[in-house]
Amino acid sequence: MKAALRARNHPAYWAFLVHRVSGILLVLYLPAHFWVLGLALHQAARLDAFLRWTDQPLARFGEWGLVLLLAAHLAGGLRLLALEFLPWRDWQKALAAAAAALALVVGLAFALAL
């Protein structure tokens, strides 16, 4: 197991893992997100109650987590588009670091906005 982890311990693999895991979590979140907003159509009272619940610190933290997931997935996706469509250069590896930095900046911006 330790050997298996060591073999995969390089930036591009981490970038892949973050991109895939964030994608999975987002795809699980989306139907719930749409369903809650859909409550506004016919069950405004339930939506109100739900939105009051989101004022709680735990919900705020969850929102921040979602923003971070979305930012990470976006940054990773931009990196992939660059790798697949732009001419190949040796600084491709730095793209992983740049993507991580971008995601953190967005996460920080959201946290500070709270």
Partner: protein, 237 residues
């Protein structure tokens, strides 16, 4: 005289690591270690090597979890704490001990149409290929592959998808896709596109990270994705 504690895989798909103690020397490679074990400690150990100078790729094995050429891996570089774990290359059937069955690796090369297909005969004049064109530079960056299977062994998609042609086969297909002399490009794109081909690559880049020749199969596979998309949109695929 210090000593290396070396665990070596014995058996086939089923088996176990066997422990050996090997004298440690300056400027010692992992291949030296394996050779010492087989000559002095365990004559029945099966392993492959040929040139032992980093040209043939026969000595590729998994060293502490990472696929490497053992003749070009200095013990000092990998034996943290004086310990080594040596196993056969991953993603390939094990014949015995450190020897793998390379047939599937080369079969996939053939399935990717990784062989040159020319249109000229001996009666025609030579092709003239300018070395500095973008296409030829793409070929030159990828042409030095010697088929050692380090990339194939390092790729998780190969492990997750048994049909996946793998980085070496796709890299070779790329060198031919960019070869202006090759006459089989349409057929080749059909062979390398799809779930078993370039579209299964998720840019883990372990292949590019580990290739002992410094080739980046990821670059070629990205190029094949673009070529396949273009052909599909034009109705040529």
């Amino acid at each position: 005289m210090s000593v290396l504690r070396v665990r070596v895989w014995r058996g086939g798909a089923e088996g176990a690591f066997q422990a050996f103690e090997v004298p440690r020397h300056a400027s010692q490679t992992v291949l030296d270690v394996v050779t010492h074990i087989q000559r002095v400690l365990e004559p029945a150990l099966a392993y492959r090597f040929a040139c032992r100078v980093g040209m043939c790729g026969s000595c590729a094995m998994t060293v502490n979890g990472v696929a490497r050429w053992t003749c070009r891996t200095h013990v000092d570089k990998v034996a943290a704490g004086g310990e080594l774990e040596i196993a056969p290359l991953a993603n390939l059937p094990v014949i015995r001990d450190l020897v793998t069955d390379m047939r599937e690796f080369f079969d996939k090369w053939a399935r990717a149409k990784g062989q040159f297909s020319g249109a000229r005969t001996r009666a025609d004049d030579f092709s003239r290929v300018a070395p500095q064109t973008p296409a030829r530079r793409d070929v030159d960056a990828a042409i030095e592959c010697i088929g050692c299977a380090v990339c194939y062994s390092s790729c998780d998609v190969v492990a997750w998808n048994s049909d996946y042609l793998g980085p070496a086969a796709l890299n070779r297909a790329w060198t031919l896709e960019r070869d202006e002399r090759d006459a089989a490009r349409a057929e080749r794109l059909r062979a390398i596109a799809g779930d078993a081909g370039c579209h299964a690559c998720h840019t883990h880049m372990s292949c590019s990270e580990r290739c002992p020749k410094g080739i980046a199969p990821t670059a070629g596979i990205a190029g094949l994705k673009r070529a396949a998309a273009r052909a599909a949109l034009r109705g040529e695929l």
